[in-house]
């Protein structure tokens, strides 16, 4: 067992006179150790970590984006997903190093506040909280599309579009469940992810065989860059929301067993796995229908692809899988958002009250409500692409800053910074990761960029007003 000392001492207090909570003394494979014999048990293994990463990601890339991406970029949307995966990998590697050096709750926020100071930390912390809300709202709207498609499938014609309504109902139900539910949600999440991977593997294997002509081929020959080169990048920016999950593994880094081994494996592993699934999915989907028709089907395009291959049973299977996947993604994001609120409140950037625990259920009801409430407002807008891009924007800022934080920490090399995993190719790899993260933002819609910048500004002003005296930066 490696005893890793923690030597970061946050100081100062906020407007309400609250000081950041004391840092632990050491981190072991099984616990986080505070003074006076107080320990926090680590209980999430590698499987659990992978399930968090994959479960958060797979909902969007496969079940919401194929239609949208194909109509934007044509067959080259495959390349867009590959670019997204590459950027995610470039960030996941540095994140792994930071996480093994600082396996604490809060993920990217924690690394950046300790490595670069409170101001950057505040921008990233609030950005993470809001980014997760935007992501969660995006998944819920996707869920609404799938649930509506179920109505369509059973032949119930509704006089209005139920997408937003269903999204709102599920959003409220999820928040209520996470406050009042005491059942073992992590085990359920593991099973859901397992089922999804099995269903998708079966479906995609059939699709690939069909696309290369084994079954007499319905392949639509098409030009790869049918929409030109530029849309490949804008589409990559749009679909990057599909890659936000690996950082969620880092938000529960404080609860991962044997973090030096499991954190890098879970983060890098989940990125690699979903990238393969995404690229194959888009390839199969576009070769079944061609980009134009696929685009017409919109959010639930995959259902039509499955119907084309396997008839009604295929459509039903993918409908069910889509419901499960979007639901689990939304759920994971709400829980991560609540962890982000806790991390901010622990460091006195939000009132201590925000991470208060409900005595009846033992759950952080204030934090969960402060995630769940705004999500409903966002769902009500129903703007899938905008929600996705703002979520990506806020995460990409964090990703870029994490890469920079790694470079800063490596250069100063403080005594407490001793990661058990070291990123290969330093300093080129983290530098490219930072550039790629910030670069991708340039390809987003102006509206998304505007909202993202406003969120960052407000976060910074809040920090100046509320917690200007709080110092979180480690001694570097």
């Amino acid at each position: 067992m490696t005893d890793q000392p923690v030597d970061v001492k946050p100081t100062g207090e906020n407007v309400a006179g609250e000081a950041p909570a004391a840092e632990p003394e050491a981190v072991t494979d099984d616990t986080t150790v505070h003074d006076d014999g107080v320990e926090l048990e680590r209980t999430i293994g590698l499987t659990g970590g992978l399930a968090i990463g994959i479960g958060t990601m797979i909902g969007a890339g496969i079940f919401v984006f194929p239609g949208l991406a194909a109509s934007n970029a044509g067959l080259a949307a495959t390349l867009s997903f590959a670019i997204g995966g590459l950027i995610a990998l470039l960030v996941a590697l540095p994140t792994s190093e930071l996480a093994t050096a600082m396996p604490r709750s809060g993920g990217g926020y924690y690394f950046i506040s300790r490595g670069m100071g409170t101001a950057y930390g505040a921008i990233v912390g609030f950005g993470l909280w809001l980014g997760l809300m935007f992501a969660s709202a995006f998944y819920l709207v996707g869920l609404g599309h799938y649930a509506s498609a179920v109505f369509g499938e059973v032949g119930v014609a509704l006089p209005f579009s139920p997408v937003i309504g269903i999204g709102l109902v599920f959003g409220a139900a999820l928040t209520a469940l996470s406050i009042g539910g005491t059942e073992n949600t992590a085990k359920i999440q593991n099973v859901v992810v397992g089922v999804l991977l099995v269903v998708l593997t079966g479906f995609l294997s059939y699709g690939v065989l069909d696309a290369v002509g084994v079954f007499g081929g319905g392949t639509v020959p098409e030009q790869f860059f049918s929409r030109g080169y530029f849309p490949v990048l804008t589409t990559a920016a749009l679909v990057f929301t599909s890659y936000l999950g690996f950082a969620q593994v880092a938000t529960v880094a404080g609860e991962i067993k044997d973090p030096g081994r499991n954190l890098p494996l879970a983060m890098v592993g989940s990125v690699l796995i979903v990238t393969v699934f995404y690229v194959v999915t888009i390839f199969v989907a576009t070769s079944a229908f061609g980009a134009d028709r696929l685009g017409e089907f919109g959010e639930t395009a995959m259902v039509e692809v499955a119907r084309d291959f396997l008839g009604l049973p295929g459509a039903v299977a993918i409908l069910g899988a889509g419901l499960l996947a979007t639901f689990s993604s939304a759920n994971a994001s709400i829980l991560s958002a609540s962890r982000a609120v806790y991390a901010l409140s622990r460091d006195a950037l939000l009132p201590r009250k925000a991470s208060e625990i409900n005595l009846r259920y033992g759950t952080p009801h204030v934090a969960l409500l402060s995630a769940g409430g705004p999500i409903l407002v966002l769902v009500a807008t129903g703007r899938v692409e905008l929600l996705a891009e703002v979520a990506s924007f806020l995460h990409l800022i964090m990703y870029g800053l994490m890469c920079i934080a790694l470079i800063v920490l490596r250069r100063r090399d403080p005594e407490w910074y001793s990661p058990s995993y070291r990123v290969p190719g330093y300093p080129v790899l983290p530098a490219v990761g930072a550039l790629a993260s910030f670069g991708l933002i340039a390809f987003m819609q102006p509206a998304s960029i505007g909202i993202g910048i406003v969120v960052m500004l407000v976060s910074y002003l809040w920090y100046r007003y509320y917690a200007a005296d709080v110092t979180l930066k480690g001694d570097i």
């Binding site: 014999g37 048990e41 406050i179 539910g181 625990i357």
Partner: protein, 243 residues
Amino acid sequence: MTDRPSILVPIRVLEGESVPEGVPGLLANAHVVLLGYHVIPEQTAPGQAQMQFEDRATDRLDEYETIFEEAGATVERRLVFTHDGQKTIDRMTTEHDCLAALVPNATGPIEDVLVAVRGAVGIDRLARVVAGLFGGTEASVTLYHVAEDDETDEDVGTLLDGLVERLKDLGMDTSTIETRVDRDRGALDAIVEAAEGFDTVVMGESDPSLTTFVFGLPADQVADRFLGPVLVVQREPSKQTDE
């Protein structure tokens, strides 16, 4: 008392569980590893629970520590916030090299102790617990064995005599030791029935099997039905298996 056996006393400190009556007396000669733990749902970060509940839990543990120390035990304590109570208990057992874990239930003064002997495996640890806790007391100890069909009286005699001999080596007065053997019975029911009239039960932890997976560990079942404190002697810590 040179060799105090380490006994793990796990207490769900924030759910109204406290040190039951009679338990401090039972463990007067032990090195008590007092584990206050709090199981939280997965939606909650352990650190979050710590921020809110640490002070209250620490106050209670202070109180319990004093109770054990006044009874004569030496005490070491831990406070753990966890999603998985069993993992925490197992880890503590290994880290502090505890010979046994206590299932805390109330009892009177300890006069009669039932020791359920399963077989030769782990018998040394069983002996160290019994001798360490009850060697210097007035309590009378009954070694109890439920024989299997293929076990001869001779086998049983060798097993129990060996244990008596071992206890004697550890400094126990053998005049307070009795032995008792039953046959043709389910071990579990037999132990629960025999336990009536005793103040506490010492028994071994059995290997996890399919039946334990369905019905829970025999030690837990005995504890549920016996209603008194049960000392569960832990297996020799094996090499830790990684998930």
